[in-house]
Symmetry: C2
Subunit: 268 residues, 2 copies
């Protein structure tokens, strides 16, 4: 593996990477940007491949720490680039001077029977989507499915907020109604639930230990009308009456925690 | 109340408002910016006063909806301003063309005995601070105290993420050690807890129904060393081992929910 130096932001390779900020380009090439040292480490330890590692030339070069990681062999190219070239590709204001172009596999390992699933229906805020992927992993969800209207889960802000969860967890993009119907065939006794601020039953009053598929609706419009008939039960999170709702990432995380807590308590 | 039209972004009044984006200026004048229709409504319904209401001149003028709100009479000035002038003051990319300058009172109504309190120790992300204020209100916390190192709770991003919680809830800025010691004198049987990823005891295994003060540490460094001796117990949130930690706002919200859930369940 050799290191190539790139000075000019006009370099076609740099311009090609910068285009990965666009959704269409990402999916056409099935590749996306991962920025920051910890995230690149998480990537190296995952099953994903790194096509190119981009290092800011003014950064102290220290491959030794990276080489010790098992995945180092998966990197195809390493570029050392000027500040101007780096700035064109980077998405963060205070960069650590390291980013990777990762490949999103055609066939990512998926759990055969995802008992606990999170569905994101039209979420627009990439911070919310990333945070929910992080919480989903923490609370033992096996798969996250992002509906068509949800912001692209390979966008840099989602990748950052997911803190590596995107590399370890099975995350898919699919039509939600199809996904729910298939899941229900797999788990006839499964429970499709959704959060709704004014639902009568509260999440901690309902048993959530069966296989559960949780749908989180969009920040502005809630759950799509076309999905409503597929939902077995809407649940509210107990809260003070002065508050209209929780942030979508907060509501989702609290419900995922409640599901996880109930499963743990049942085991004990 | 008369409406004044301001065209030039150079107008000293506009420049003076734009300076409210800076923390020092906000606290010197004890005033801050509140942007967006729903937030201005929340403000009007709160005990806070509005010094100036700023409307983008191209916006459809519709005072009638606002006039019905009880706080409307408290507004001192209304300005209609040009797009250029508005852009100088606004903090959002997609603005609704309405913002208010609110006064943060010297003596905001504080609960005499805040049984349940959230302390923010050095949080740097304004989105996290705002979200936690929103969750604190939702889950029945009576006061939020922001330590010296925490991002200013009157900054526009905090105000936005708090979704009105900042106007309704008691939020104070104080030295946290002083706050904790005073709170402990008030509640000798009270419980000072903090989240810690590797703490042995898990939050759902501990009774959290007594008066509780929850400390959330900074995103990067956790709880300050100077506070550790004041904490009665550190608790972990149950989660999968692949995940190092939750986002600070997530962890805080889950713990606030768990406290609230336990109190509700006890009452039943």
């Amino acid at each position: 593996m050799t290191v190539q130096y790139i000075e000019s932001p006009q370099n076609p390779k740099i311009r090609s990477l910068a285009r990965l900020k666009k959704k269409n380009e990402r999916w056409q090439k099935r590749s996306f940007l991962v920025e920051g040292e910890q995230l690149v480490r998480d990537l190296l330890e995952s099953e994903l491949c790194i096509e190119t590692l981009v290092l800011l030339s003014t950064r102290q070069r220290d491959f030794s720490a990276l080489e010790s990681l098992s995945g180092y062999k998966k990197i195809e190219h390493v570029w050392e680039v000027s500040e101007q070239a780096y700035a064109l590709v980077s998405d963060t204001e205070s960069s650590q001077g390291i980013l990777a172009v990762a490949v999103w596999p055609e066939e990512k390992t998926r759990p055969q029977y995802p008992e606990h699933v999170l569905l994101l229906d039209g979420l627009q805020d990439p911070g919310n989507v990333g945070t929910l992927i992080r919480s989903a992993e923490a609370f033992g969800v096996q798969e996250v499915c992002c509906g068509i209207g949800t912001v692209d889960f390979l966008s840099p802000k989602v990748v950052r907020a997911a803190m590596g969860g995107l590399f370890r967890l099975s995350v898919v993009g699919e039509a939600l109604s199809v996904y729910i119907e298939e899941w229900k065939r797999c788990y006839p006794g499964g429970h499709v639930i959704a959060a709704q601020a004014d639902a009568e039953r509260m999440c901690h009053d309902v048993s959530l230990t069966a296989p559960t598929l949780l749908v989180i609706g969009s920040e502005a419009h809630g759950i799509s009308a076309s999905l409503l008939h597929l939902i077995d039960e809407t649940l509210s999170i107990p809260m003070q009456k002065t508050v209209e709702s929780l942030n979508a990432a907060m509501a989702g995380s609290v419900l995922l925690y409640e599901m996880y807590r109930q499963r743990l308590t049942q085991i004990l």
